[in-house]
């Protein structure tokens, strides 16, 4: 398991400064949500952490047992399943071995679909497969880039429960980017609000799991929402 540490990170594309003074660290095994308006740099932050983009400023470090690099996986907003591979082969892309692939297919409850083509599944099922693919590789860090954004409300709640359950079992370090404040408060130990390229609020969510939509829940929701809309 790994901690993630960002020190004074900035990212610019030409003259466009997308991220600046990003300074936070994430504990191993924790679940952090990053929320903010569209275009505020959330995806860019995840891509920097996944090393798909270089930082323009500052440093990004991972610390964990040994000196090896952490295994980082991303779940994207679109499923990114390979259309010419059946479900099991798609999961095997990330898997340590075939058994691990089948096991994670079992975990997301779609073991009977192993021989299907991706195009034969619904949007929600495809995202389940994408989750299984990410988990099959036993990631140290799992980055979610609005993976539930395109799903209907019911499917989304199901997926949230599934993600929470699997995270509790496997304790991978999670970073969830979302524009849905309720989703952030439902899943995360901590919510970070980004606006104008930098951190505006860093809030610990001190609620027992599974989370009830009670007064305290609403308190957090309101506080975060006010920050996003007012800030």
């Amino acid at each position: 398991m790994f901690n993630i540490e960002l020190k004074d990170v900035g990212k610019s594309y030409g003259d466009n400064e997308v991220l600046r003074d990003i300074d936070f660290s994430v504990d191993k095994g924790s679940f952090t949500a990053i929320v903010g308006k569209s275009g505020c740099g959330k995806s860019t932050l995840l891509r920097v952490i996944a090393k798909l983009e270089e930082t323009s400023k500052g440093t990004l470090t991972f610390s964990g047992e040994g000196s090896k690099d952490p295994k980082i996986r991303i779940m994207f907003q679109d499923d990114r399943l390979i259309p010419w591979k059946n479900i099991l082969s798609n999961i095997s892309i990330g898997a340590v071995n075939k058994a691990a692939a089948k096991e994670s297919l079992q975990e997301v409850g779609l073991i009977d679909k192993e021989k299907d083509w991706p195009d034969q599944l619904s949007g929600g099922q495809k995202q389940r497969i994408a989750l299984a693919r990410a988990l099959a590789s036993n990631p140290d860090i799992l980055l979610f880039d609005e993976p539930l954004g395109a799903l209907d409300a019911l499917t989304r709640m199901e997926m949230q429960n599934l993600i929470e359950e699997l995270w509790q079992q496997q304790q991978f370090t999670s970073l969830l980017v979302t524009h849905d404040v309720t989703e952030a408060v439902t899943l995360a130990n901590r919510v970070i609000v980004i606006d104008k390229g930098t951190i505006q609020l860093d809030e610990k969510i001190d609620l027992p799991r599974p989370r009830e939509r009670d007064e305290k829940f609403t308190y957090y929701e309101k506080k975060i929402l006010n920050q996003i809309l007012g800030g």
Partner: protein, 259 residues
């Protein structure tokens, strides 16, 4: 499903018109409205085919033509495919070579015939060369474009999931460009037969084109028409084989698994 229940939406109906045309052609010939020296009847053409089949000439010439076509196809196809792969995957090669290929491509390859005859005479090499050159470009272009148009998001996913360059190529880039490559192959098969017909008509001592030219000299109209039919059958056959491959290789694609 309403569309399927229309009386004309079935396997047989599309064949009605060709059959009517052939029957009409037979009748017109039989009653000498069209003379046999102008156009032989379908029955005469079939009889010519049977006659040549019994002497073994038919098989011999068809075999030789098919051989030429396939050898030229394999050579040209491989060259086009390899250039397409290199240019599609290595930017340095693309920048160096693609513009040149695009320029050369604009020359109709049959315009090379005088040059080819001067280089190779009219022997086997000339015909195979002409087929190979014709086949090369459609395969090149479609391979190149196919690779360039592979979904970048899938490639990004592959690298996030730790695929090596080779695995990225075999699992994502090559299968992703396969539909385009197959389109190129089907098109190239058409070019292959056209190039061969032209090459064999210019000069040959065997093959379907030779059958046609020597039949013309003796005014054997039935054989002339037979050779045209043979080319059509071979063209249709190769297209059919390509279609079967397409269906098998692209069965993941909803456009092809129409069950």
């Amino acid at each position: 499903m309403k569309r399927n229940s229309k009386w004309y939406n079935n396997e047989i109906f599309p064949w009605v018109l060709p059959i009517v045309i052939i029957v009409l052609w037979q009748i017109l010939g039989q009653y000498k409205i069209i003379t046999s020296t102008l156009l032989p009847t379908p029955v005469e053409v079939v009889q010519a085919g049977i006659r040549l089949f019994n002497t073994g000439e038919l098989q011999e010439h068809v075999l030789i033509s098919t051989q030429r076509a396939l050898i030229g196809f394999v050579i040209g196809g491989l060259v086009g495919f390899i250039f397409g792969l290199l240019n599609g995957t290595i930017l340095f090669v693309e920048k160096m070579v693609d513009t040149t290929i695009q320029m050369v491509r604009t020359i109709p390859h049959l315009a090379l015939i005088p040059l080819v005859v001067l280089w190779f005479g009219i022997d086997e090499t000339a015909k195979i060369f002409l087929v190979a050159v014709g086949v090369m470009f459609p395969i090149y272009i479609n391979t190149f474009n196919g690779i360039k148009n592979v979904d970048g998001k899938l490639i990004e996913m592959g690298s996030v999931y730790g695929l090596s360059r080779w695995k990225l190529f075999t699992n994502i880039i090559l299968p992703g460009s396969l539909p385009a490559i197959l389109v190129g192959i089907r098109y190239a098969l058409g070019v292959m037969w056209i190039s061969l017909i032209v090459a064999e008509t210019i000069g040959a001592d065997s093959g379907i084109g030779f059958m046609a030219t020597s039949a013309r000299e003796f005014m054997q109209m039935d054989i002339v028409v037979l050779t045209i039919v043979l080319y059509a059958i071979l063209g249709k056959l190769s297209d059919f084989v390509a279609k079967v491959f397409e269906r098998r290789l692209l069965k993941w694609n909803p456009a092809f698994n129409n069950k």
